[in-house]
Assembly symmetry: C2
Homo-oligomer: 122 residues x 2
Amino acid sequence: MLNLKQDHSTLVVLSVLADGPSYGYAITKAIAAKSDGHFKLTASGMYPLLTKLEKQGLVTTSWEEVKAEGADPDASGRKRKWYTLSPKGRRQLDKHIEAHKQMQHLLDNFLAPTATATSTNT
Amino acid sequence: MLNLKQDHSTLVVLSVLADGPSYGYAITKAIAAKSDGHFKLTASGMYPLLTKLEKQGLVTTSWEEVKAEGADPDASGRKRKWYTLSPKGRRQLDKHIEAHKQMQHLLDNFLAPTATATSTNT
DNA sequence: TCAGATATATCAGAACTCGATATATACATC
DNA sequence: GATGTATATATCGAGTTCTGATATATCTGA
């Protein structure tokens, strides 16, 4: 079980929201499912991050009541805070993906089997 | 210019040392060169990390004097602290590489082109 | 002599991490 | 109706990490 750091969390959360609006609890479940149970983003990591994304204008939010089946329509039940990826957020996701790919590419130079500097022609 | 975080720093530093012993200043230069000038690991990130690696037994160290050309052999000149990858460090490097590859693999699930959330229907 | 490169190292304010805690509803089972 | 588990959002705080600034000292070339 790998705890995600902010960089990866941001990438992953924006990616999940690119599939459509969602809310905190569902996002944590989606991340666990999509990573085959390997990624873990707990509430204490998720909510501060979502608040940050909102402040940066990458997501927009709205509250919605969760009506229980056959519940009194006037009763106030549990609430969900929905997060929707904004156009700015989508552009940011693209940037994050690009940056991630560049990072991977650059790291490849360090992951190669320790070459004994043989022939390296250009 | 990307500042490296500890996870990546560790991977990259151990990787550089896998090519042979080196010292702090040279490692920062090697990282910059190997990453085509994109990775930056400053002194304030490098030395605490090297100390940590030493404490963990991943590297062994030794001081060596840098003799100036034609200098008095008895004069005490500038010193270098050399870092050598230990067998434990090499195993740790392998583990880091493996973990990194798994992370990449898992992240792929989130980087795939999002179905068509940019819905075209009106 | 002066500037810039080499070389190691710490400091401190800021940011981040993450288990624990708080609050509340929903639902199945006993 | 009590009990436990899942759903749902959110903050706290001790510990760790990050990073520009600072300190110290040597070497090299103009």
